[in-house]
Symmetry: C2
Subunit: 203 residues, 2 copies
Amino acid sequence: MRSTATGQPRTKPAEIRREELMDAAQALFLGKGFTETSVDEIVKGAGVAKGTYYVYFKTKDDVLAALRERFVARFLERLQTAADGHPPSDWIARFDRWIDAAVNTYLDERALHDLVFHQMRPTHDRLHQANPVVRDLEGLIAQGAQAGAWTADNAHLVAVMVFSAVHGAIDDAGESPGPSDRKRLVHAVQSFCRMGIGLPPAG
Amino acid sequence: MRSTATGQPRTKPAEIRREELMDAAQALFLGKGFTETSVDEIVKGAGVAKGTYYVYFKTKDDVLAALRERFVARFLERLQTAADGHPPSDWIARFDRWIDAAVNTYLDERALHDLVFHQMRPTHDRLHQANPVVRDLEGLIAQGAQAGAWTADNAHLVAVMVFSAVHGAIDDAGESPGPSDRKRLVHAVQSFCRMGIGLPPAG
């Protein structure tokens, strides 16, 4: 087969092909469920030949792992963009924005989050160790502490606790909180976490 | 069959029989795994007839649910006992002891915790809503705030965040931290959570 079902040229860059397969899989997993989706459906959704699928992925679990990686990368991107709205030395604003972006990104993408972390068990070694989002927060907390903006004797443990508090607060929020509920939630989480590192509550 | 395999009289109280089946199941689940354990082995371990098992449980999942319930009840008992070591009005000491007991009980029972929550997904509606341990903490936080010991505009959300911070810190701890590591962990968690509700860090 020299061309795909939708007539796209075979010369499409590999990275884009892979992304299209992932997009098709994500839509199907979210729509009808991971277990209920077949590779045939993913292939059809992406408009590629079945052989093309197997160039990139061996199993459906491989696709899910790729979606998880992409979810985390995009999450970190949004955190970075939020923090970059403030000068590097404005540590408190960067901390506030980190929490704001984390809460809102998570709430925006909850279905996807639940999908990609579906098969993860909430046991040790899984949620926190080597979690890139915790690592990102740990960097921010360590740097801010070094700059004297706040106190954190153990930046890693504090990052784990802030991340967990944020995550717990979001898990506890209703299915799709409206704008004012979100705002209240962000404010409460910011205040608790700010005070946890010796800052005054959010203004 | 008029008597059990170990010759125990049929007149043994139902509650004790049930507990013995649970104890046998727990030991087997922890030792060889939930999936790998058969009902026959549980029955043999408890020294009862198979029919007796089915008086109390329909499936292995029922046993696991009963073990989960017992885990939570015993967890709450330990928290209660810890808090009862202090006068009802000494809110800060009760808060400190709550965290201390939560960290240590969890670390003592981590394998059991992971077993009974094995099949729970870390998504919303599961970890926090209707979690009796969060409810217990929420009562403490609301009462302490009412007494003026600390600040918590939204006792439920603060309880969720404290619980999540405690849980996250423990998940992050190594496989079996020694006494001094445990002490440091308790101290760091107490300080973060104390400050989170406007108290000075742990002494």
